[in-house]
Amino acid sequence: MNKEEYQKLVKDYTPKEKKLENALIAFVSGGSVGLIGAIIYTILLNFDIQSKTANIWTIIILIFLASLATSLCFFDKWVNKARCGLIVPITGFAHSVTSSALDYKKDGLITGLGSNIFKLAGSVIIYGVISAYVLTIIGVIFNVKF
């Protein structure tokens, strides 16, 4: 086998980067989560629930569905396929909390589940709180009004 043939063989076996396909899958799956949320929201509005309350219920129902799917072990496959399409919506938050609960449960209730449940989702809360706090202080000091 000469060098050119070898190069061709390597090229055939290296996994191709499917950036465009990944992006399209993320767009469609993320959009579907938004669509499901909108459907739940309109169903809730039919029950004489105020729009603000229906908003929170929609988020809680989506979190419940994602937690249920994660604890039944088939959500991981979907996340591997859709990637950011399921990680960026609120389902990703529920998935990370539930999967760390599932993984660390074997280490005991305190040192396992209790201390590791926010292992992945903690950074979201921490940096959200810090940035909101700093931005409020900046807004107050400079008296910003947009």
Partner: protein, 116 residues
């Protein structure tokens, strides 16, 4: 139109996340943290209100709405109670999401086992 706008908005935010994930070495944890901070900054400049007008419920589904809600709650607390309000009011509106994630994950994983 509510359905279509929600589809487009959530899809676009996911698309931005996927493009960052594919072209850099950042992990999904980095991306969700960055998007939360971006949401707070957009809320600070008053841009997030336009997204809510456009997409309705769709604007509160991506993780960026977490940053928006945190900033709005913190500002509301400052207006009502001053510096103390910034501490006591910060997590009020996001409490629904955080608490439900804890409760559901704790109770649902009591009865299930990881596959491998």
């Amino acid at each position: 139109m509510l359905y279509l706008n929600a589809f487009i908005f959530v899809g676009l935010v996911s698309l931005i996340g996927e493009i960052i994930l594919d072209n850099t070495k950042l992990t999904p944890g980095h991306i969700t943290s960055i998007l939360v901070v971006v949401g707070a900054i957009l809320s600070f400049f008053g841009i997030y209100e336009y997204f809510i007008d456009f997409a309705g419920i769709g604007a509160s589904i991506p993780i960026t709405s977490f940053g928006n809600l945190l900033y709005q709650a913190c500002l509301e607390g400052y207006k009502n109670d001053g510096i103390l309000g910034m501490f006591t009011n910060m997590l009020t509106t996001t409490s629904g999401g955080i608490t439900s994630a804890i409760i559901f994950s704790a109770f649902l994983t009591l009865f299930t086992k990881p596959k491998d």
